[in-house]
Structure formats: structure tokens, C-alpha cells
């Protein structure tokens, strides 16, 4: 846990506001809550200066009045930093990280489709993973979303 502790110290030294939200869950697993307003600055430092260059994915969460997004990053030696931000559900705007990780594009389209996030700076492109004719205001992973009773087509 030496490495995790020194990562923690480096990050807290640079960003003192993270002192209470940065936790080491176990060996190689670190979690941190970051204010949305400072996300890009912290993300940039973590990727460029601390070399968290492995991008796993983005998890979107519906937490009632907030939508939260966890950016799962890792060092090549396996230590993970899971950076979480929360934005109001009424205006869930996040900034794209495709400038750092092109592979994030699909993950960002996914939180747009499934949770209704708005991603600033993401280039235009097709939908993923919902079909093109899926209603734009229906986001299945929101907790209040329930599937309609299906209509079954019977073979003649």
C-alpha cells in the first residue's frame, strides 16, 4: 500500500480539497469525489502528470437529484483511481475527455443515451447503444424509467 499512499499524498498536496474524499479501498483501488467545477483541472493533472494512462470506462449513476459519473483510470502497474463527479439531474452537463482518451467517445455516448447526460465538446456522431428511432427523452438507466408493457407480434 506504499505506492497508493504516496499517490494519495501527491494528489492531496496538489489539490488540498481532495483530502477528505480520497480513500484507499484496498490495494490498487483508490476512489475520489471531485467537485464538477474542478474536474477538468484535476483530470488533466492525473492523466498528464501522474500517468494514469489506462482508461477503463465511465460509469453513470442516477443518484436522485444528481447524476454521477465515475471515470475509471489506472496506472500501467494496476493501481486504479476512480474519479467521481456529480452534476444536477436537471442540467447534467459534463465535459468530454475524448481529448485525452479517444476511446471515451463510446462511453460518453452511452451515458448520453442511457442516463441523459449532456457531454460538452463531444463531436457529432451516431447514437450508441440505443437505436436511432429511440425517443430522445427516454433514458432507461434512470431510476424512474420503467419499460412499457411489450407489444408482441404474433406470427400468422
Amino acid at each position: 500500500m506504499m505506492k497508493e499512499e504516496s499517490i494519495r499524498q501527491q494528489l492531496v498536496k496538489k489539490f488540498p480539497i481532495l483530502e477528505n474524499t480520497l480513500r484507499i479501498q484496498r490495494e490498487r483501488r483508490m476512489w475520489v469525489d471531485v467537485p464538477a467545477a474542478r474536474f477538468m483541472e484535476i483530470f488533466d493533472y492525473v492523466v498528464k502528470e501522474m500517468h494514469f494512462i489506462v482508461f477503463c470506462t465511465i460509469t453513470g449513476l442516477d443518484e436522485g437529484v444528481h447524476l454521477s459519473f465515475i471515470y475509471h483510470l489506472a496506472l500501467e502497474n494496476g493501481i486504479m483511481l476512480n474519479i467521481k463527479i456529480s452534476v444536477p439531474k436537471a442540467d447534467p452537463v459534463i465535459k468530454t475527455v475524448t481529448g485525452y482518451f479517444p476511446a471515451a467517445a463510446l462511453a460518453e455516448r452511452e451515458v448520453m443515451d442511457l442516463l441523459g447526460a449532456k457531454v460538452e465538446g463531444l463531436p457529432e456522431g451516431g447514437r450508441y447503444p440505443l437505436p436511432d428511432d429511440w425517443p430522445l427523452n427516454q433514458h432507461p438507466l434512470r431510476k424512474d424509467w420503467k419499460p412499457e408493457t411489450p407489444t408482441i407480434t404474433e406470427e400468422k
Binding site: Q25, R26, R28, R29, W31, I53, V54, F55, C56, T57, T59, G60, L61, I70, H72, A74, E76, N77, G78, M80, N82, F101, P102, A103, A105, L106, A107, L114, G126, R127, Y128, P129, L130, P131, P140, L141, W145, P147, T149, P150, T151, I152, T153, E154, E155, K156
Partner: protein, 405 residues
Amino acid sequence: MGKVTIPIGPQHPALKEPESFNITLDGERIVYMNVKLGYNHRGIEKACEERTFIQDIYLVERICGICSHSHSSAFVQAVEEIAGLRVPKRGLYMRTLVGELERVHSHLLWLGVAGHEIGFDTLLMYTWRDREIVMDVLAMLTGNRVNYGINTIGGVRRDITREQTADILKAVDVLEERTKYYIQVASEEVTLINRLSTVGTLAHDDAVHLGAVGPTARASNVDRDIRRDDPYAAYGEVQFKVITDTHNDVYGRTLVRVGELMESYAIIRQLLKNMPEGPVVVKAPRKIPAGEAFSRYEAPRGEDVHYVKANGSEKPERVKVRAPTLANVQAVAKMLENGYLADVPIVIAAIDPCFSCTDRMTVGTADTRGIDKGTIDWKSLRAYSIDWYRTNRGIDFSKVKISGK
């Protein structure tokens, strides 16, 4: 001549699963490729939130028909971490054993598919015949050829016997012998080497930048393997080499996979030799305490990740899956740039794509209900399901509107 755009898919005879590739050509050369995914989206993550943790194991196992054990392992590992369960060592060894057997079957399957895509069907026939050996081993060990159902929260559901250990060792000897032959084919057969070399190149920096994973990345000399970098199950206690290659092309991806087969045999032997005594499972609570965990697993196609959040009830608050193919999709577009149209099938096949995994869906074929009951037509099947839900779940679907009437 102007540029031509050719749509391949979502339904196309060359594709095993629905996905859509729009390929813009200048003559025979590919200028640009656009991939559209999502045709396999089945809403598994949402469905997981509405089922118990135990039910979810079997649901996530059905995300993929080839690397099913990868998904169930990644999922149970996350749940075990949240619940603070200490899985007995023997259980971890068993889980790892099935994981490596799965890698063997998956890589042999890939080798056959790759052979088929380049018109080398003898290789397909050979590898798929040999693959039956490992399929039989998996069936003997778990009861199933695919979707093994061996994982449970807290360990595995079946123990291994001495006789089974002996049988597996025998099977591994045969497989190793056959794999040596495939390595010889891959390193000496001129048609194979010429057909695959410099096809679908992916430079090292591009592989890193685009986030490629698994054998696709390792063939571009990206030295990453979750089994070594973020060890889980019993991988911290076995010795193996991470196979990398510097060819950066489909040929390199072939060498990496056959090399990994040999490493898998070595891992299987170590696991069987050092299998600790004791129980294979520890009792898990039905309700999982609130918490979250992120689990990584080196599936045959690369890093498979699961995020699980529990809220103290028996159902998860959130389950998020990212399968390896999704991480490799952008790399495919890069590989095909400036390539030839005729190389499209083998280049796509070379990442060993699995779009069911990527889109996370369940497949249901509604035509038969087992041999002993014979076939059942759509109408009777529907009546059966309505009746089943009414008696077993108390839900009445008989009022559901049927379109076209």
C-alpha cells in the same frame, strides 16, 4: 474514379453478429470506416438492477457465449469485495482453472475463425476438432460446454475430484502437442505468413492511444495483462509470461494467441499441482451491504471490467459492464485505414470481436423446448409463457396487446 461507400451490415452473410460498417473506398483502398454498434443492446444493466445478486450471476454470464466465465467472475469478484467475503483458496484456484480452460477454448476457436476468413479451412477443421477436447473438459468439470454456471458469490459451486484432475492433465498434454503443431504452422507456413503480415497494422502508440486491450494490444507490443498487473483469483500464485509481439499486424495477433495457449497450459498444470485442500465456497449473505467495487478480469479478448454498487438490499443499485471488444473497436477503424477491402473480414476477426459482449444483451431462441418435448410453435410457446408467469410470478400477460390484430 470517385469514392464509393459500401455498407456492410447490420445484417450481412459475412457477419456472425449484427453490427454495421460503412466503408468508404477509393478503388480497392479503404479511405474511412464508420462503425455503428448497439444492435445487440439488451438492457442487461437495467435488468440486473431488477434481479437479485444471485440471479444476476446467471444473467451476466449470458452477456457472452464464449467468455461467459469472464463476465460472471468479474461480477462475483466485485460483489465479494463489497461483502467483504474471503473466498477459500481452493475456490479461487477452481475459478482460475475454469478461466484458463475458457481461454484455451476461445483462442482455439479464434484460430479456426481466422483460418476460415483467409480461406484456410483446414486450420478451422483442425482447431475446432481439437477444441472439442477442452469443451469436454469444461463439460466434465462444470456440467456445461458454455455458460458454465460454476461461479457463485463466495466461491464456486462444484469441487474437482482426483480423477478429473488426472483427466484434465491428460487432455492438456494432447492440447499442448497440437498447439506446438499450430505454432509450427504459424511460423513456417508461407501462405499464412504472407496473407497475414502487414495486414491490419496498428502501431504501438496508436494501440496505447486508442485504448486497445488484450491480444490486440499485446501484438502491438503493449505489455499489459490484468492477470499480472492487477492480479485476481489465484493469478498472484502462478508463474506465467505475458506474450507480446512486435509485428503490429494480424500475423502478430496470431502469434500472441498461440503463445498464450502455451502459457495457459502451464498455468493449468500449476493450478492442478498446487490445488489447496479445503472448501471451495464460503456462505454469502443474501443482502449485500452498501458499497461499491470495480473488478477487472483478463478475458480471452482483453480486459473486461465490471462496476457494482450495492445499497444494502438483495438487488444491486447499479451494474456496469465494459467488455473488451468495445475497447478495441476504435483500433479496428485505425487498422483498416489505407487497407484493402478484401482484408476487412480478417482484420475485424483479428480482434476476436464479440458484439454481444459489447452491447450486453441476452439472446433467446424461442423455437424449441428441449428434445424430449419436441418442437413447440410460437402460439403454444406464448401460451406457455403467459401461464408460467401467471402461476410462478403472479403477473398476467394475457391482456398484452398483440399488434396486427
